[in-house]
């Protein structure tokens, strides 16, 4: 339990670091981000909202207050999830844009990542257990090759062959045009159909890593005496493979889950771009290209928190799976 408390403390610290870097970045940029931002608005828009200049200044720097005063105001606003107005979606509040786009991305990455993990771990397990047999010689190299390609390239291949040529999947957007987002069957089924190809691409890109990871650890675990003893006990082969070898082999790769998740979120920008999928990744890309600093800032904060939460989730899972950590 002390171990867990330490981890928790570390995450609070990590979130604080992420927020602070986020606060400092626009202030360290050469030039004046606020005037760059205001250049994207028409004079009429600025006049209609006289407080906006001050609002942007508190977020990005340029007020006449001390930096500490700004910092405290900034933290206070983030605590209320107030990131100001998005200039590329003017005058929609940033929090609304994030709330609209983030769920798509989280669904995409969440589902794809869990599937990639399950699939990769299972393949790695069987490949190591039956080394040099079909799964090891055929399936493993296929996933290795897929994961060696950059994600956007895999996305383009999938788009071209499975979408454009074979017509198996829709090629863009998160749902069919003409469908209104809402909690109804038409929307959900349409959204599900549109998510399939991006999910498939993420699985193709990330399963290979799990396969390799699991296979390597599993081969080492097979050499452990408890696996030998399980075999000597006359347990069925399958049980030795799952309950003894794989159950122990899964622990180290699990610790690699969070870093890989972070890189998947990075790859999301490209994948969503290829599929014109209106998730957080595409929005982030547009925000950066359009100098929409408030939106970019908010997305960076939210995505860093997602990665940190994924880490936390893995720690809890670790605690559940490894009794040795519980008593440490």
């Amino acid at each position: 339990m002390r171990w867990f408390a330490r981890r928790l403390g570390f995450y609070v610290f990590a979130i604080w670091v992420a927020l602070t870097i986020n606060f400092l970045l626009p202030r360290l940029m050469p030039g004046d981000p606020v005037s760059g931002l205001l250049a994207h608005l028409t004079p009429a828009q600025i006049q209609a909202n006289p407080g906006i200049v001050h609002e942007f200044e508190t977020l990005l720097g340029g007020t006449h207050n001390s930096i500490w005063h700004d910092y405290v105001t900034y933290l206070g606003r983030i605590a209320h999830f107030d990131f100001g107005l998005s200039t590329s979606n003017y005058p929609t509040p940033v929090s609304e844009v994030v709330g609209r786009t983030l769920p798509y991305s989280m669904f995409l990455v969440g589902v794809a990542f869990i599937l990639a993990f399950v699939l990769g771990t299972a393949i790695g397990m069987v490949a190591a257990w039956r080394r040099g047999r079909a799964v090891d010689n055929v399936v493993v190299p296929v996933f290795m090759a897929l994961s060696a390609l950059p994600a956007f390239f895999t996305a383009l291949l999938g788009l071209y062959f499975l979408g454009l040529k074979a017509h198996w999947f829709p090629i863009q957007h998160a749902y069919d045009s003409g469908v209104t987002p809402g909690f109804n069957w038409t929307f959900l089924s349409s959204a599900f159909r549109h998510s399939q190809l991006p999910i498939l691409v993420i699985i193709a890109a990330f399963t290979g890593g799990w396969v390799l990871n699991m296979r390597t650890v599993m081969i080492n675990t097979i050499g452990e005496d408890y696996v030998l003893m399980a075999q000597a006990k006359g347990l069925p082969d399958r049980r030795v493979m799952t309950r003894y070898a794989a159950r122990n082999a899964i622990l180290p790769p699990l610790n690699g889950f969070a870093p890989l998740f972070a890189s998947a979120i990075g790859g999301l920008v490209f994948i969503e771009f290829v599929f014109s999928y209106p998730g957080a990744g595409l929005t982030l890309q547009q925000a950066v290209l359009g100098n929409d600093y408030p939106l970019a800032q908010a997305l960076l904060v939210v995505l860093s928190i997602c990665v940190i939460l994924a880490n936390l989730l893995m720690d809890i899972l670790n605690l559940v799976l490894d009794p040795r950590l519980r008593s440490a």
Binding site: E224, Y226, L228, A232, G234, L235, P236, R239, L321
Partner: protein
Amino acid sequence: MTALMEAPIDTRTSAPALLELRGLTVDYGGARAVDGVDLTIHEGEILGLAGESGCGKTTIANAVMQILRPPGRISGGSIVFRGEDLVGKSDEDMRRFRWRNVSMVFQSAMNALNPVMRVGDQFVDAMRAHERIDKKGALAQAEQLLELVGIDPARIRAYPHQLSGGMRQRVIIAIALSLNPELIVLDEPTTALDVVVQREIMQQVEALKQDFGFAVLFITHDVSLLLEFADRIAVMYAGEVVESAPAQKLGTDAQHPYTQGLLQSFPPLTGPLERLTGIPGSPPDLRNPPAGCRFHPRCPHCTRDNATLYLRQTAERPVLHEVAPGHSVACHLVEEGTA
């Protein structure tokens, strides 16, 4: 492979043979880890198997259980258990045989229990792989077995890391008893433990043997431990048995130079401390073992002084010869009567 030699008839032991190895040969790729070993374990006896690391002791144990790691495989000979050859049995038949007939206590007490499974569950799955028994009944049996080896039955809910090394080894012994097998293989069961715990555990095994009546194949490099606990001892060198004798006889009248060296490598348990000599050199590469007697490069009695003997030692493989009832030696010196 060497010609099959006649298994030495042990006139001292009247109990019927339980496990017989006949010309057992195990290859690891190009290395022959076990080369034509004949060995008999009778019902209810403790057979000690001694030798340096890498001489094939553990390989014999794993071959009996047929849990050899690739590329290890049985390439010749037979393993006969109660008159039935185990080599060539189907996977499922072998699975049923393991633990029910022969169980095994592993070298590293620290590492032989699954670290993420409660102790009780590691009894339960062994029992349920062989018997129709519900989990509750199996756990109740496990508690009794733990008590038998001197561990608080409440520890059934513990994880291995919550137990000391000695306790873990006792737990493994209790698991080994859970199906009441005819033979228990102890593969260096006490190497990882300190000397005091070693003795306690061996005394416990001896006491349990009285109650349960199982036979023991006790594998260790610690000959002094064997002299104390084994009924008979077989000494292995480079994949072959070079000498086998009743324990007492071996302790006082070892004939093979290797056995003599091995005995001098351990301080006597009782009596004055003598100078330990050990055996110079190291075991041969099993991919390319020396011609003739495999021990000849390290043998103090192998010199060019006696040309004819030297020729035999370096060119001809010695075979086991009975020098006294139940005492066999594979050595040219003994054959020539110069030892």
